[in-house]
């Protein structure tokens, strides 16, 4: 005798038909409003769709489950629509980037730099290898500098709670509001002008680290606070020092959150252009030394293409954005899979 598992709580066919009908009614109603009243255009459509959808959904909910369902259905449709509204710009940016950028894709993009080509040349000339290498250097060095610093600061704030905690908390908060161009100027005046480290990828990475540290710190702090006090006490109660407890229990427990903190930090800086203007110089040729000489970066390459404004240079810019998007996405996927591996049960 075998019994089949079922999920009576999942929407059944009738529920799905009902959902689709409500959607259809709302689309049709919105279309009617746009066609026959003064409310027209895309905005008018979306507005009347939202209104009609919420209304119909509420009527259906009340008819099925009584007046108490009113709040439930209205809140639900607002949340659905809200998430759709958030998703739309993302989808539209992705669509735009992919469709526009894909036209400029060719193999020599990844093998050539712009040393023998101009932005005004036909799109097939030259490539963005120099910018790709530059961005990789920038992101990696900025990570090496700011992830340990950010996590250690967060540990100071959550685990040690030393005397300076209040002040550091304040500084971190203030730092997260620093305009990115100021970070570039800061490194330019305090490092490039006075130290042996001149305009280079490393100098740019330092400027990016100024922006990345507060993001990593604040996110790490939040996830470390989520680690239950019981766990810390359990470690300490076995005679462990605070350092061993933090390193072997607290940080591993917050591991996934700390990876998220890193990802958010990278997301914060990967597309920054302004801090790089004073710090990396913006080379057109490949430079494999991150500590010396002018360097390029993908956002810088995109910025250059956009400012020139010819059809060829604009095409290069769109392709640069697409490559940057793919690069950042693959960094995220890599971080997630590397970090998530040991967490699988």
């Amino acid at each position: 005798m075998t019994v089949k598992p079922r999920k009576p709580w999942a929407p059944n066919r009738k529920d799905r038909v009902r959902t689709l009908s409500v959607l259809a009614v709302a689309v049709f109603g919105a279309w009617a409003v746009v066609s026959f009243t003064g409310l027209s255009g895309k905005i008018g459509f979306i507005f009347s769709f939202v209104l009609i959808y919420t209304l119909v959904q509420a009527i259906v909910g009340v008819r099925l489950r009584g007046s108490k369902a009113l709040g439930d259905t209205v809140a639900q449709s607002i949340i659905y629509l809200g998430s759709a509204l958030v998703f739309m710009p993302v989808a539209s940016i992705l669509y735009m980037t992919v469709t526009k950028g894909i036209k400029g894709l060719h193999f020599s993009l990844f093998t050539a730099s712009m040393s023998n080509a101009s932005f005004l040349d036909p799109v097939g000339n030259g490539g963005l290898l120099h910018a790709l290498v530059g961005t990789l250097y920038l992101v990696l060095i900025a990570m090496v500098v700011s992830v340990p610093m950010g996590i250690l600061t967060a540990l100071y704030l959550t685990e040690i709670k030393g005397k300076g905690a209040g002040f550091i908390q304040f500084v971190v908060q203030a730092m997260s509001g620093v305009p990115s161009v100021v970070a570039g100027l800061f490194i330019f005046t305090s490092v490039i002008l006075v130290s042996p480290l001149k305009t280079s990828a490393a100098a740019g990475a330092l400027a990016l680290a100024v922006l990345m540290i507060p993001t990593v710190t604040r996110t790490s702090q939040e996830v470390l606070l989520l680690v239950p006090t019981d766990l810390r006490e359990a470690g300490l109660a076995m005679g462990a020092t605070q350092w061993r407890t933090v390193a072997m229990i607290v940080v591993p427990a917050a591991r996934n959150g700390l990876i998220t903190a890193t990802i958010l930090g990278v997301a914060r800086i990967a597309g920054e252009t302004a801090p790089l203007i004073f710090t990396i110089g913006g080379a057109d040729k490949l430079n494999m030394n991150p500590f010396k000489d002018y360097q390029s970066a993908l956002p810088f390459y995109v910025w250059k293409g956009l400012t020139l404004g010819t059809p060829e240079s604009l095409q290069r810019a769109w392709t640069g954005i697409l490559i940057l998007l793919i690069l950042v996405l693959s960094l995220f996927v890599a971080a997630r899979s590397l970090g998530g591996r040991r967490m699988a049960k």
Binding site: V3, K4, P5, R6, K7, P8, W9, N12, K14, L64, R65, G66, K68
Partner: protein, 282 residues
């Protein structure tokens, strides 16, 4: 030594309890009935084919070692099981003869009638004692004529009134563990459920608080059906009219035996039940 004396003393406890109180009888179709309930977590079958009747006004204890599906079972009784991602079930749970899993059933109405008290006391931290008790009324948007009367009634029935009547405005977190659990019981009573599911309600409490909650259960059983999961066999013997023994032999949990509590503790039909209640394993 304790293993030798345990069964007879438990049987004694159970017998004295059964003689003192007659379980309510109910017309056909009323009360709560589980019919062939199975429960899965993803592909893992956690509970196989449990059929049990809970008559109105009875207290049923579910006993068995950890991991035998007791908690999973009571969570299927008020549709809390489905909150776990990947959960699935089979079978029927009938309340007054109507399947609570039938299509078109309003889950919130089911849970209004089948309340639940959890293992850990969980008063709402942002609310005062009084607000906690009446929270169900607000959450379910119910109307009551006299909130003060209801508040007092619930706290009296939960055996907490005399201890908190002068500080109803204090926060629930300021109470002791046992008081918090009685506050949670009072809270679940406010919406007037017909069935109360209790998942090891005393496991985190001291003996005094436990006894007080057991008294409360005895009081409540006059007007509602109670299903209590417990690891404490003394408790099962003290509070319940019927006892069901659950067991997992490494596979899915199953119900081995159910019967009047006095019989389960004095002359169980199944050898495994006897071993468990006499403390020889589990």
């Amino acid at each position: 030594m304790t293993t030798e004396t345990a069964p007879s003393s438990l049987a004694g406890v159970a017998a004295s309890r059964s003689s003192s109180r007659k379980p309510g009888t109910l017309p056909m179709g009323a009360g709560l009935e589980a019919r062939g309930v199975h429960a899965w977590f993803n592909k893992h079958l956690a509970l196989r084919d449990v059929s049990l009747d809970f008559g109105f006004g009875t207290v049923t204890a579910l006993i068995g070692p950890s991991g035998c599906g007791k908690t999973t079972f009571i969570r299927t009784m008020n549709r809390m099981h489905e909150f776990i991602p990947g959960a699935a079930m089979a079978g029927e749970v009938l309340l007054d003869g109507k399947d609570i899993y039938a299509a078109g059933t309003d889950v919130t109405k089911i849970r209004l009638q089948i309340g639940m008290v959890f293992q850990k006391p969980n008063p709402f931290p942002s609310m005062t004692i009084g607000e906690n008790v009446l929270s169900g009324i607000k959450l379910a948007q119910l109307k009551v004529d006299n909130k003060d009367d209801l508040l007092e009634e619930c706290l009296v029935r939960a055996g907490l009134w005399s201890e908190v009547k002068d500080r109803l405005g204090a926060h629930g977190g300021s109470l002791s563990g046992g008081q918090q659990q009685r506050l949670c019981i009072a809270r679940s009573l406010a919406v007037k459920p017909r069935v109360l599911l209790m998942d090891e309600p005393c496991s985190a409490l001291d003996p005094g608080s436990t006894l007080r909650i057991e008294d409360t259960i005895g009081e409540l059983a006059k007007t509602m059906t109670i299903i209590i999961v417990t690891h404490n066999m003394q408790q099962a013997a003290r509070v319940s009219d019927y006892t069901a023994f659950f067991l997992s032999d490494g596979g899915p949990g199953q119900m081995v035996e159910v019967g009047p509590t006095s019989e389960i503790f004095s002359r169980p039909r199944d050898k495994r039940t006897e071993n468990y209640v006499s403390g020889r394993f589990g």
